[in-house]
Amino acid sequence: MSNRPFTHLDALESESVHIMREVAAECANPVLLFSGGKDSIVLLRLAEKAFRPGRFPFPLMHIDTEHNFPEVIAFRDHRVEELGERLIVRSLEDSIKKGRIVLRSETQSRNPFQSVTLLDAIAEFSFDACIGGARRDEEKARAKERIFSFRDEFGQWDPKNQRPELWDLYNTRTHPGENIRVFPISNWTELDVWEYIAREKLEVPEIYFAHEREVIRREAGLLPVSHLVQPKSGEQAERMVVRFRTVGDMSCTCPVASNAATVEDIIAETAMTRITERGATRMDDQTSEASMELRKKEGYF
């Protein structure tokens, strides 16, 4: 084992495991956010590496927009059962019923509203740390965020007032009501994630692989036809071979044309791809140059 070279994946894995253990040891009541997407799938394997043969020292939680792809929800439940860990699900629907979220239309993207339900759940369970799968290569606001990202009692991120983060010494202290978002795979890229999925032989939801699907062309991207997205006048639904690079709200998560049928195909495609993950697949990130920064300031992950 020790004759094997210490590769970048080993270095990233060791850093992430170290971060997970710091959270467990220093935070009173952490939770790991699991959506069924590839990044949080990697988080779960890292948690296994960090804590087995013990159990996870935190529950898992999914903030469900109820606009999710059914394949992803099925995968989520299957994976949680396999791990034998506890999953908490809090739904946007509950926040809508309580009047905490007011939507303009049923089919509108629910991504921005996840913050409300997340903050409600943090308050309900008194979580002081939420472990999430965000990466710095995703987006320029994330590139400037700490691994341990401190949030005030309204869940707000203040980019100009972040705690200095040096070496691997993380300051995990919070006052009551405040919490920390922790991103153990901050330093991973999309390609690293897929290489790790390949190395660890991790299962991922089917929709990451090429499949035939009814889509419509809208603006620069493709949108999957579903009960939430129907062709407008002048638009034509067509069947194409596509795959998803991210799995989020069905109303704004765009597939890309692809024939990648295996993890190895996806790695080859990712190594060559010329468009960023969010640029290609999230219509809600394209609305303004600073949309992620603004959402994060409001408590978004």
Binding site: H8, E13, R21, P159, N171, E293
Partner: protein
């Protein structure tokens, strides 16, 4: 798409580096150039910055816009914090900590430098070695970055003159003799035009050294971690207490330096009790030997009372166990140091109460002169005397970064107010 060959990323190493220089030195342009020429810029990013360049009434593509992050910064045209960038070549994966060079941001440079294997110091060929170049070099050496690269940029504006370059090398070397830097490389370049960054270009034929990218890909980093002294601060104790693992006690943590084998004699600190390594456990199974910086689970032969904050070392290779030490401190907070107050220190996996009762001197980072001071303000670097309530298991920072570093936390605000480097034997 066919120009990208199949890349064996599985074998790639990870190199972390920082770039230091002011806005005018072309630092953002250099990073943009590295990303662009290594084909790490995506089409949508490129089209966004092309668009912005045009909106600002300029021609072409301003690569420096790539590293602009936040709305607040774009409005003011400044870089306010450390930003992390990623790119890869077939040989290595790179993490860049992009740190602003402006005077008030010493803290950001120290932050970015703390995890770096290498620092690139940018010098404008027209201006030569400036006060801020000295400051950047001093900070890089203070934080113990093993490799320093001096990038003499904007060579195109001095007619690619060899004598300009040679003079800068001479000036810088003379200054660097006073620093704790083992190895410096000098590279002439034009980040704007791409000479000697990834491609050699045809204007600098008198220069026989490597391009910046060549150097980044090939510089040896395997000895950047201390390979000799085994140090294992315990992060988490695993006691599953299931039927089949009823008596299992695993000590989880990261090997911060050195290596360990099954059967090795180990000493638990600060208690000083001895035992032997019974198993090295990974998720994948048991292994015989492990090295820094692997995260592992260890079990030992004897039942010792071990908890988070304790450190396992090899018997016979014992670090200092001390309640008082000297340190170089970089003050990070707007609120000045109060020598009468108690702070918290986080060192490895241990958090202790501490008092910083003595300030020996402050270092003027521009001249490296020592000055007497009564208190420390943001961006000050000083040698101090520290007393802690519980003993720390530590090494000199220059010998072992991982067990020589600490942060200072203000208990009332919970902010990280200082970064420290332990130095018991002078500096």
């Amino acid at each position: 798409m066919s120009e990208v060959e199949k890349i064996p990323f599985e074998q790639a190493e990870l190199l972390r580096f920082i770039t230091a220089g002011s806005v005018d030195d072309g630092k953002s342009t250099l990073i943009g150039r590295l990303l662009h020429d290594s084909k790490s810029i995506f089409e949508d990013q490129l089209s966004a910055i092309t668009h912005t360049t045009r909106r600002r009434g300029m021609e072409g593509v301003d690569l420096s816009l790539l590293t602009d992050g936040l709305q607040a910064e774009r409005e003011q045209g400044i870089t306010i914090d450390v930003a992390y960038r990623y790119f890869a070549t077939p040989r290595r994966k790179f993490i860049i900590a992009d740190t602003p060079g402006h005077e008030q941001y010493t803290r950001n440079m120290v932050t970015g430098a703390s995890t770096a294997n290498l620092a690139i110091i940018l010098i404008d060929a027209r201006k030569g070695v400036l006060t801020q170049s000295r400051r950047h070099a001093y900070l890089a050496s203070l934080v113990g970055i093993p490799h320093l690269v001096v990038a003499v940029n904007k060579m195109d504006l001095v007619d690619y003159s060899q004598s300009v370059f040679d003079d800068i090398c001479k000036d810088f070397s003379a200054f660097a003799e006073r620093l704790n830097v083992h190895h410096i490389d000098f590279i002439p370049m034009s980040a704007l035009l791409g000479d000697m960054v990834v491609e050699r270009g045809d204007k600098l034929n008198w220069y026989k050294g490597t391009t910046l990218m060549d150097l980044l890909e090939n510089i040896s980093i395997s000895h950047d971690v201390n390979c000799e002294d085994f140090r294992f601060p315990v992060q988490w104790v695993c006691r599953p207490q299931t039927n089949e693992l009823h008596d299992f006690r695993g000590y989880m943590g990261r090997i911060e330096s050195g290596s360990i084998r099954v059967g090795d004699a180990v000493t638990l600190l600060p208690s000083g009790l001895n035992s032997r390594i019974k198993e090295i456990v990974l998720y994948e199974g048991h292994i015989h030997e492990a090295d820094a910086p692997q995260s592992v689970t260890l079990t030992i032969e004897d039942h010792l009372d071990i908890s988070r904050g304790d450190t396992l070392v090899k018997t016979g290779d014992i670090p200092q166990v001390t309640k008082g030490f000297d340190a170089m401190l970089c003050w990070l907070s707007e609120q000045p140091l109060d020598p009468a107050r108690k702070y918290l220190i986080k060192h490895t996996t241990r958090v202790v109460k501490a008092g910083i009762g003595r300030i020996d001197y402050r270092v003027d980072v521009n001249t490296m002169k020592h000055e007497p001071v009564e208190q420390l303000k943001m961006n000050d670097i000083a040698r101090v005397g520290i007393k802690v309530q519980q003993p720390l298991v530590c090494d000199d920072y220059l010998r072992n970064r991982a067990t020589g570093c600490f942060i200072v936390i203000d208990e009332s605000s919970n902010n990280t107010v200082a970064a420290g480097m332990i130095c018991t034997s002078g500096n």
